[in-house]
Amino acid sequence: MILRIAFKNLLHKPLYAVLCWLLLACSTAVLLLLITLSHQAKEQLEKQIDGVDMVLGAKGSPLQLILSSVYNIDAPTGNIYLEEAQRFMQHPLVASAIPVSLGDSYMGYRIIGTTDAYLKKYNLQPASGKIFSKAMEVVIGATVAQRSQLKIGSEFAGTHGLGEKGHVHEEHNYVVTGILPLTGLSADQLILTPLQSVWEIHEEHKKTTQQQITAVLIKFKSPLAQLQMPRMINENTNMQAAVPAIEINRLQSLMGSGTAVLRILGWLLAALAACSIFVMLVQGTHERRYELALLRSMGYGRGKLLGLVLAEAAILGIAGILGGFLLSRLSGWFLQQEVFSHYHLTFSGAWKITPADMITMVAILAACLLAALFPAIRAFRLNISKTLANA
């Protein structure tokens, strides 16, 4: 009965209730979305650099080098000569070295010149067809296949540069030989081809000494090499060595201050929601003091009146948190569709509730109940005789 009265009381003042609910839902959504995004971004970032200890590329920003060669987001820093890179690719401390060559794209999807080692690194096997075996054959990612309608055997011409518009290399057509399964990695949005294709199109194959690549993804045999090799390369060659783990940490700390501001904003919203619940209940218990006295006179104990006021806050709190949870997941899904796919980020398992989510939701509910405590105690201590006599 108490719950029913609490519920009806909220419906009796729908505007107030909706305002409180909206504030609660928005603050919950902001906080939960932040948790999901930072958690998922971290997971995604780390998944992608798994097995890459060092990236060798042209001089420039190390972060840019990592973003362009590992995450396939930013523009590359420039090219290096394969011959020069080979010295390090065949170094005894290097376990594996995967060359990548960027430059062209198709419908905005990057065409990466590489070797089959790239596929092996991510444990990729074509879901249909087979991997490329000679120049101008390509294996395409699942997302590329879906969006571009390319099938096995389809031919297409690449566009120079990484934008959607540019010079089209009409004289050289690629042939699709395989389609990769959906991985959730940036490989979904890539078109992979042997290095030779890139050289062929850009007519660099004439002299092997001039063959260029964009970067080399290197995995070391021992952690010791990680300490020495990047420094040696950066000091003694005109190439650059960047360590993904360091750059990603730097990126995360850069993003960290942004998320900190958003988190403060989220908690401010939550505080505002708690304040509005406080005001609503203080005003409500004052306006309805006769009703409270009446309940007492009909045999409802003081504890039940306390419970009634707390129940109103709890109903609002739970409804707000549920709304916020749905809102955060929906906006996460929307962001995924509209924004993150451009950054090759795929969020999965978004409907899971993590411990951090639970803590946030419980904290918000506790804030609601705390806001209701003063009006609830006032209801508990109501002087019924005086209230009824002054009617």
Partner: protein, 204 residues
């Protein structure tokens, strides 16, 4: 059923009211009259256990209620005492029916029976605010009766009613109290009621 001895109440400002001893057996009606300010409502609140007396004894259905703890008093009041207020209070967010069943949802058949007698069965689905003064008063009488209390306390139950309604409501109250063997105590300054009930005490 109702019985008081040396009942006194001290206001917070120090003024003390002493009430004459009174007694009301089950099925009987006791009328308490007096001008405004003589403590009629205070007496009613003392009898209902809403206020604690500073001295004396109040017995309802064999229980000395002045010594009950607040929680026990709330429970006792809910079970044994029905109160009809001068101004009708309802929970605005609930329908009339839900308001009348606050004391116990299982009393639905009894509610139907009484609301038919009082002619408010067509109003049950409305919100309290949609009822007229007279309808509200009949609804609050119904609410007090639904509990089947042993003691019915009425504070100016007829003040807001016209002559016809006043007599009807007063007779109805008395008849219902007699029917369920409840003691009925009416606190009023309404002289129209004096002609109806023989048993009365005037406070001064």
């Amino acid at each position: 059923m109702l019985y008081t001895r040396n009942l006194a109440y001290a206001y917070p400002n120090g003024r003390t009211l002493r009430f004459p001893d009174m007694e009301c057996a089950e099925g009987n009606v006791l009328l308490i009259t007096g001008g405004s300010g003589v403590g009629k409502t205070t007496l009613l609140h003392l009898l209902a256990g809403l206020l604690k007396p500073s001295g004396g004894e109040v017995q309802v259905a064999g229980t000395a209620i002045q010594s009950l703890k607040p929680a026990a008093m709330d429970a006792f009041r809910g079970k044994h005492i029905g109160i009809i207020y001068q101004q009708s209070h309802f929970i605005a967010a609930l329908s009339v029916k839900e308001n009348l069943l606050l004391a116990g949802a299982h009393k639905i058949t009894r509610l139907m029976e009484i609301s038919q007698k009082l002619g408010i069965q067509s109003l049950l689905h409305k919100k309290p605010a949609q009822l007229s003064q007279g309808e509200q008063q009949r609804a609050s009488i119904t609410r007090a009766l639904v509990q089947s209390p042993e003691l019915l306390l009425a504070d100016e139950p007829t003040a807001s009613l016209d002559d016809d309604n006043c007599i009807t409501v007063a007779k109805l109250l008395a008849a219902q109290a007699a029917e369920q063997k409840a003691a009925l105590l009416i606190v009023t300054h309404d002289n129209r009621l004096k002609q109806l009930f023989a048993n009365h005490i005037t406070l001064s």
